[in-house]
């Protein structure tokens, strides 16, 4: 799961997967705007065949939070 999340973030945010860690967060990555944020959330839904609540999307503002929330759901 970790690799899949990182791969999606890399694709959408134009980052190297190796550069993504727990601290990678919306307020520290320039390309992570609200448009790309929704793109990541919807790509994650598609990748893991889950549906996210809007509240969950709003919480998923770092790699760490994404992993945590997805692990709870799956």
């Amino acid at each position: 799961m970790e690799e899949q999340i990182k791969a999606i973030m890399a694709d959408v945010l134009d980052l190297e997967t190796a550069a993504i860690d727990d601290a990678t967060a919306m307020d520290s990555v320039d390309t992570w705007d609200s448009y790309n944020h929704l793109t990541i959330c919807l790509a994650l839904e598609q990748e893991f065949s889950v549906t996210l609540e809007v509240e969950e999307m709003e919480e998923m503002i770092s790699y760490y939070d994404m992993l945590r929330i997805l692990q709870e759901k799956i």
């Binding site: 959408v12 919807l42 809007v54």
Partner: protein, 641 residues
Amino acid sequence: MTDSAHPEQPVKETDLESIRLRDTLENTLDSGEMHPAIQAARQLMALDSSVRQWSWLRRTIDRRAVKLTGLKPVKVAILSSFTLDFIHDSLIGQGFLNGLRITIQQSGFNQFRQEILNPSSELYAGKPDVVILAVEGGQWMPALYDGYLDLLREEGDVQKVVDAGLNDVMALVERFREQSDAAILVHDAMPHCQPALGVLDGHVGLGQGMAVGRFNGGLLKRMRSVPGAHVVAYARLVSRFGVEQWLDPRMAYYAQAPIRRDRLHHLAAEYMAFLRAMQGMTRKCVVLDLDNTLWGGIIGEDGLDGIKLGPNYPGSAFVAFQKAVLQLHARGIVLAIASKNNPPDVDEVFQQHDHMVLKKEHFAAQEIHWKPKSQSLRNIAHSLNLGLEHMVFVDDNPAECEQVRSELPMVTVIQVPKQPELAVHALMKDGWFDGLSFSEEDRKRNAMYKQRAGAESLKAESGSLEEYYRSLEMTVHVAAVNSTSLARTVQLTQKTNQLNLTTRRYSETDVTERMHDDAWVLITVQVKDRFGDNGIVGVVMACEREEGVLEVDTFLLSCRVIGRTIETALLALLCDEAEQRGVQRIEGEILPTRKNVPARAIYQDHGFTCLSGDLESESRWGLNLQEKRVECPDWLQIVES
């Protein structure tokens, strides 16, 4: 136990393929090999058209913006009554798959009225090539979508709401047309999935569903009268998936973005069919494999009784595929065969199999032998005088598909799926054959190409060229462009690539304006020969400049009649026209493109003097009528009307 039962499975095969294709795409883009890059991107998206993949593709393209010189730039403005920003990735991505470099001007949601009504809006300032008006039915007919039951109380009111909605769209589109020549694509309306009266909708008075149907019908009719306006069949697109599989109510309320993110690329594909047609990229010819494409099995091995074609599965699916191909034929798409087979085996199927829908006469060219398919495609392109970039190659064999992709990257390759029931979808889903007009010429095209093949063989027999020209018994009908020939004129300016001196693409609006301007001479050319009527195959547009020069703006001939001296007749005609106007000089430019090599020497061959440039670059040519004029060859009979 299947792989998917192991949650920690390593890398899937499709992921490996996806990584390989991404590498190929990046490398070919970096080295500027545009066709292979496009092929890799098409394969990548066929493998996995997920949200992340489109996002990656768009970023990969954007990062190399400066290197995309081989792509045609197209500016698209999106006006919408909801958030449609999320379509950008797939629209830009699909543009790339089609050789277009799309840039998008996105208006804020629900700003469409201000943008259209204000002549100094950003919409007009951006000078878009195409404008998309993606507005929901509820915006045009609020009372129909919200408060229908109140409406229903008074007889006739529902229809009034429909009419008011249509007037509203029409007024906006007309205002737009006054300000801009850009093409405009207008969404039709999606019906309600929960009508106010439920199952009773339409049983008492004009139902909500029926009213939306009337609106959509009226929209098509009205848009037909606006040059350059087209209707995007949004309702039909949604019905392909079903409303519940199309909308994301959560995102509708949260971000005003009602369309499911993983469906948006289908809407982009719908736009793309229009954009492709506007760029003259509609495919003209489909080249078909036979074994396991037109029928199941291999004729050389399974024999006439062994191949699968007929009322029972899987034969029934192959019959359906043949019927779809026959429809393409009726639409004017030229059919050809490229098959590795022994010709007598193939003839046996065509002559004796009871369930063959397609007959030999439907095919304008046949390459049935054991040489590479790329060679077959080259031969077909040559004998029909069609560009390879206008060809779609259909084959079930991945190796053949790969061979053609790598040898002829400009050819569109469709690999038909193993399950024959999916073949029609594979052939039709991308809209490769969609055009912006459908004329009598389209219906007759296949017969014309067969004539051409006939004329080619006559050429081989004839002793001298002059004898050949005479034997064709050609009549050239010239007429001023009128309302009947307008659509064909525009189509020719958009589609003709080879014998086209300037390759200027025009819309109906452009040509209509010139029809009303006496300075312009607009001529269509129809050619008949002993094999039949070729239809309108040429257009000349020239403008009388103040200083007494007739300036040739557009001079083109369809590839069907290249090499028949028709161009000489047209230049002679321009000389006559100039004289009648009391003009002493004809001038014109040649703007070289990759395709118009056959056009470059036309002025030189007819005694024009080069004023600037040369045969390899942009050049300008002139002819002084007091010194010289062009005479029409005596094997051409000219009929003016």
